[in-house]
Symmetry: C2
């Protein structure tokens, strides 16, 4: 019976300077020494897969609470790792954009990089991590449409303007502030208003909201008008 190594790899995304960034690490040892790679590592002997993902996330970001983490897909092509037959379970993590940008980068070779740096023949990534990153970014973009996932990029309390900035960063297209405001505040269960307000952005102070209890947004917030197209998911093997 063939035996495998099993790893977890993380696509950790956050918003920095209005664009979508991914956490990458510089490899210190072969294979792919000196190349960028997604953070990850081997699953331990008595460890469940989510536990391994949370452990790696905490090692890289020092964060555990308030982080959205979901399984993305698994990759196991023969030869994807020259050290041996390896299957990796990839996870998608979304961090609030208010997280200290240097978290995870201290005393290590980790860095935030715009995801576009690794698309379309840009910077190379080790192993099949370019494909994994692309799948994670596409998952995040798609889920913003029909789920309240955008709030995972925001701190616990946030303004409608901050939430809109997330959509604009992830989709790369501007959104009408007035229509967006009406849409998200009128969707029952999507946002919970607080009695607080914030004026960090200049201009009139904005009400602060928390995530609501809704987990399926109907009707969705569409990116149809932005002209963005959704590539076919790589897990669809037809």
């Amino acid at each position: 019976m063939q035996e495998f190594f099993v790893t977890v790899d993380l696509v950790v995304l956050t918003i920095l300077d209005g664009s979508l960034n991914a956490l990458v690490v510089k490899r210190k040892y072969p294979p792919f020494e000196g190349s960028w790679a997604l953070p990850g590592g081997y699953v331990a002997a008595d460890e469940d897969l989510p536990a391994a993902a949370y452990r790696e996330l905490e090692e890289e970001t020092n964060l555990r609470e308030g982080v959205h983490l979901e399984q993305l897909a698994s990759y196991g092509a023969p030869g994807r790792d020259p050290r041996g037959r390896t299957v990796t379970i990839a996870w998608l993590a979304l961090l609030p954009s208010s997280s200290d940008p240097s978290a995870g980068t201290d005393a290590s070779d980790a860095a935030w990089r715009p995801v576009t740096d690794f698309m379309e023949g840009g910077l190379p990534l080790a192993f099949d991590h370019a494909q994994i990153l692309a799948d994670g970014v596409e998952r995040a973009r798609a889920k913003l449409e029909y789920s309240p996932l955008a709030a995972a990029f925001c701190p616990p309390e946030f303004t409608v303007g901050q939430l809109r900035a997330v959509y604009e960063a992830v989709w790369g297209a501007p959104i009408d502030p007035r229509n967006f405001h009406r849409k998200v505040t009128h969707a029952p269960g999507f946002l919970e208003p607080t009695s607080q307000a914030s004026n960090v952005d200049g201009g009139r102070p904005a009400r602060l909201y928390r995530r609501g209890t809704l987990d399926l947004l109907n009707p969705p917030i569409t990116r149809a008008t932005t002209g963005l197209t959704a590539p076919q998911g790589s897990t669809d093997q037809s």
Copy 2:
């Protein structure tokens, strides 16, 4: 370094008698001898994950072409298989309802069973397969809304009535035939009309369609009539 066994397990769904059915096999050997389980098996030494999934699918159903197959999720809790540390990559397959219902059942202990048989404390399934099946069914239900996946349950050429029957079977709720017809025939790229017609259902012959090229349905076909949306009629608004 811990080593793992890696398997693929299949959630194979089709429509039989107007309800959603799953393919299950009766186990001949321990563990869980005599219990129902999802079809699956070990990934071979030089085999990619999709290749293993297709091989298992073909072994159980004799089908390879015209079947929708996509990765579902991976499961790897310690102790989920008493024979050793095992990670399984689960796949979701959708078969046309016109497939011979006995396919995959000959010379084996495989059978089609309504998925409801295994829900909510019904028939037990081996290992963690009840969870995997539930995840697969929910994935199928959700994807019908915003993708043309329902056509995967239909033969290559099908009528609007057959397609509607798929939605009604998967969601368990009736749909207005007139509005459904208008919706799917007016969505560009969703259906491709042929010059043929069919009258197998009695009544006026219906035009036959093929799957279109669209892969993201916008706006979606909603499950709103099943009670998923919040009430809107607010009489207290001034």
